[in-house]
């Protein structure tokens, strides 16, 4: 079997007639951590939304292969069932829908799709306990409505908690660090690092280098105006921190 988890080729998308992703290429293999950095508005969240299956975007060209599937043909829930996870930059509040109840539903629907057994109440609770400890999610928050009244940091922890519960093959973390103080950042990064495995991969989207002190990437890519304009190792992030993005824009290879 191939080592590739996701392979994005020449991906272009539009929203309301405006092109946002303008021919993006990216390949992520098992065991790897990729960081995507780039200025505000460069298309980072758009990329994650498109990969997760949000319908607002029109894909005008390109292909995405995810573990041998044509990702763009799948519904958002099928993408999840096959192992894709997106931790949102702005997790929504869902009044009246219990955090753990919906997760149990999600797990069971996935298991049904994969023709696996339903998870027992006991196993589920044990799992909730283990994973919430991993990310330091307050006990009370688990049973509350999804994200309702959570602080910014609590919402991000809840995202990582859900990630831990769903055990995805590819996790995309969209600015999970924004809005976190340094302690929370450490806990969240610890969580991510503990979930790291040779079979899985992570894409970390951020525009601060500081997260990458905790989650050390194998590759760093710079996204600018809808394209990856530079790739390198973790030192690229340090250079970006020091010099900003502008130095890149002048020597973009044509």
């Amino acid at each position: 079997m191939s080592d590739t988890i996701i392979k994005i080729k020449n991906l272009r998308c539009e929203v309301e007639g405006q092109e946002i992703l303008k021919g993006l290429d990216l390949e992520v293999k098992k065991g790897e951590i990729h960081a995507i950095m780039g200025p505000n508005g460069s298309g980072k969240s758009t990329l994650s939304s498109v990969l997760a299956g949000k319908e607002d975007y029109e894909i005008t060209s390109g292909t995405v292969d995810f573990l041998g599937n044509d990702l763009l043909e799948l519904s958002p829930e099928e993408r999840s069932w096959k192992g894709l996870f997106l931790a949102f930059q702005y997790p929504v509040e869902i009044p009246g829908v219990s955090n753990v109840n919906f997760l149990r539903t999600a797990l069971n629907e996935r298991n049904k799709f994969l023709e696996k057994e339903q998870i027992s109440a006991k196993d589920f609770l044990a799992m909730v306990k283990e994973k919430s400890e991993l990310v330091g999610l307050n006990n009370k928050l688990k049973n509350r409505s999804v994200n309702e009244g959570f602080s910014g940091g609590e919402k991000k922890r809840n995202e990582i908690f859900q990630m831990a519960m769903l055990e995805p093959k590819l996790s995309i973390l969209d600015e999970t660090d924004s809005g976190l103080d340094i302690d929370a950042l450490k806990i969240v990064s610890d969580g991510v690092n503990q979930l790291k495995s040779s079979e899985k991969a992570t894409i970390v989207i951020t525009h601060y280098q500081r997260l990458l002190d905790y989650i050390v990437p194998d590759f760093v890519h710079v996204l600018s105006d809808g394209k990856i304009i530079k790739s390198g190792d973790k030192n690229l992030a340090l250079k970006l921190e020091e010099k900003g993005y502008d130095w890149l824009k002048t020597d973009v290879p044509v």
Partner: protein, 418 residues
């Protein structure tokens, strides 16, 4: 568009019911009620309170006398399993096989048909000032009624479950429930209006309740008829320190209209009106409520949620009147609606009429679609599209469904509402 019905309204409308006039259990009353009915007149589309209600649906139909219909055995097992005294009114007739009432001290239950002379004087005390045509029609054609009295200081812990089932098509049922709660008494009533094979029937029900000082009445009611026109008029009178709660769940019926009127005529009363209505197909569900704050120092809370699907039409019209001397009233009213299709409609009108100056009142109404962001969030976590919608709708009605303390009843209802 107003092609107004230019004919003798009363005469024509009454034709719909002409086959039924023999069925009243108060025959001596009929002439008087008919006169009253003619004076009041049936509402039409020019009547402010009925302007959205397609009453022509009712006026066009002809109904048969339920007594001439066959009594079929209604599969009561289909109803939620609740340990309660159960009274089953089938096509307007007490079904003795399915009715089972626990005898308890301080609780008196009787049927109008077996005690008509005594009961006649006990009804219509709260209704007359409202001059409602269908309430008059109900008195005029009354098939059966249930009278329940809870004596002073009696707290009935087990609910009384009243099932108003229609098992025939094309019948008209006029039924009543009269509740008399003496001082410091307590009662919970569950009410099912149900009919799986009830097409083209008409159920015109009237509930009257009198809550004496410090009494407490709780009603959970649901409406689930197939292709029936179901009018329910409720008249509640509260004396001081009494507490009244009604939760109304409506989800199936060609045309449902609830007219709920509460006179809060004593101090320190608690009044709570909640409801969820889910409108499917071409159905129409209308909740008209009126809370009359006549005395000071009371609180009323109202919360209705509408889910409108397909080509359904929903109406919420909630009115609170705070009379001149009713100071220190707190009256809160809320209504939220979700439209699930491009063709669904809601007419929402919260109204406050305040004649006192020292009051705390608020009202609000919102209408929107299912939150797309929330749907995407759930789906991206592996909840299938249909389940995600259900979860969101369950969340939407949750705060009201949670008010039902009978778990079986609650689950049964939630399942139907979403």
């Amino acid at each position: 568009m107003s092609v107004e019905i230019e004919f003798d309204m009363e005469k024509e409308v009454l034709k719909s019911f002409e086959n039924l006039t023999q069925s009243s259990i108060f025959p001596s009353n009929q002439e008087k009620e008919l006169e009253k009915l003619k004076t009041i007149g049936f509402p039409n589309r020019n009547s402010e309170n009925w302007k959205y209600t397609k009453l022509s649906k009712l006026y066009k139909k002809k109904f048969t006398d339920p007594k001439s219909a066959d009594l079929k055995v209604f599969p009561i097992s289909k109803l939620p399993n609740i340990s309660a005294s159960t009274i089953v009114l089938e096509n307007g007739i007490i079904n003795k096989h399915l009715t089972c009432v626990d005898q308890t001290d301080g609780l008196e239950i009787s049927f109008f048909s077996s005690n008509s002379s005594e009961i006649e004087s006990k009804i219509n005390h709260t209704t007359s000032k409202y001059e409602d045509a269908f309430t008059c029609l109900n008195s005029y054609l009354l098939n059966e009624g249930i009278y329940i009295k809870v004596k002073k200081n009696t707290k009935i812990t087990q609910p009384i479950y009243i099932v108003n089932v229609v098992t025939n098509s094309g019948v008209a049922v006029n039924s009543r429930l009269n509740l008399e709660l003496e001082k410091f008494s307590e009662l919970t009533v569950l009410q099912s209006f149900i009919g799986p094979n009830s097409s083209s029937s008409f159920v015109n029900h009237v509930t009257e309740a009198h809550l004496s000082e410090n009494a407490s009445l709780h009603i959970n009611k649901h409406q689930d008829y197939k292709d029936v026109i179901n009018l329910v008029s409720e008249y509640i009178h509260q004396d001081s320190n009494s507490s009244f709660t009604i939760n109304t769940f409506s989800y199936s019926g060609e045309l449902i209209r609830n007219g709920l009127n509460v006179d809060v005529d004593g101090q320190n009363c608690h009044t709570e009106l909640n409801g969820v209505f889910t409108v499917n197909n071409n159905d129409y569900i209308d909740n008209h409520t009126l809370v009359n704050h006549i005395q000071p120092n009371c609180q009323s809370h109202e919360n209705y949620k509408g889910i409108i699907k397909d080509k359904g039409v929903g109406v919420f019209n909630g009115k609170v009147i705070v009379h001149k001397d009713a100071q220190k009233i707190q009256a809160y009213q809320n209504n939220n609606n979700i439209l699930l299709s491009d063709y669904s409609k809601i007419f929402a009108k919260p109204e406050l009429e305040i004649y006192a100056d020292d009051v705390k009142c608020s009202h609000g109404s919102t209408t929107g679609q299912l939150d797309e962001e929330a749907l995407f969030y759930l789906k991206s976590r592996g909840v299938s599209s249909n389940t995600a919608k259900k979860l969101l709708l369950e969340g939407f009605i949750g705060e009201i469904a949670d008010k039902i303390s009978h778990q079986n009843f609650k689950e049964y209802i939630i399942d139907k509402l979403i």
